[in-house]
Amino acid sequence: MENSAEMQRFIEQEQQKAMVSEMVGKLTSVCWDKCITSTPGSKFSSGETTCLTNCAQRFLDMSVIIAKRFEMQ
């Protein structure tokens, strides 16, 4: 079974990818609802683009705050 290490590594990699993909998917969904309020046009407005970027980054900031809040208890 010299392949089990290789398989282990493969599964860890894929788990990592799945986590990233889930996070991007979730944040896209949340930020789409928050930022895209009008009917989708043929191009994002600069406000929408900025909102999507800020929304994703603020969500991360928030996660940090929430994690810290629980560490304090």
Partner: protein, 86 residues
């Protein structure tokens, strides 16, 4: 679609690789399926405001624009998360 119907008997290295390819293919399909479902829900909510007897021309064009924008939004969000540390 019977991707498990050809078990490799060419030694364990080959079968491990074979298995990893199958897993990758199935994961890719699962990701695509989930994405499609999400895009469908989002764009139905945005574009199909009053379900009539058929999709109107403006609803159809809204849907295709919406799908393009959702893909673009996914790119913007992943760049916001993983590139250019703030």
């Amino acid at each position: 679609m019977d991707s498990f119907s050809s078990p490799s008997s060419a030694g364990s290295t080959a079968s491990t690789e074979h298995l990893m390819e199958q897993i990758k293919a199935q994961l890719a399909q699962a990701y695509a399926q989930e994405f499609l479902e999400t895009v469908g829900n989002k764009c139905f909510a945005k574009c199909v405001t009053k379900a009539g007897t058929s999709l109107s021309g403006s609803e159809s064009s809204c849907i295709s624009r919406c799908v393009d924008r959702y893909i673009e939004a996914t790119g913007i969000v992943s760049r916001a998360l993983f590139s250019s540390q703030r």
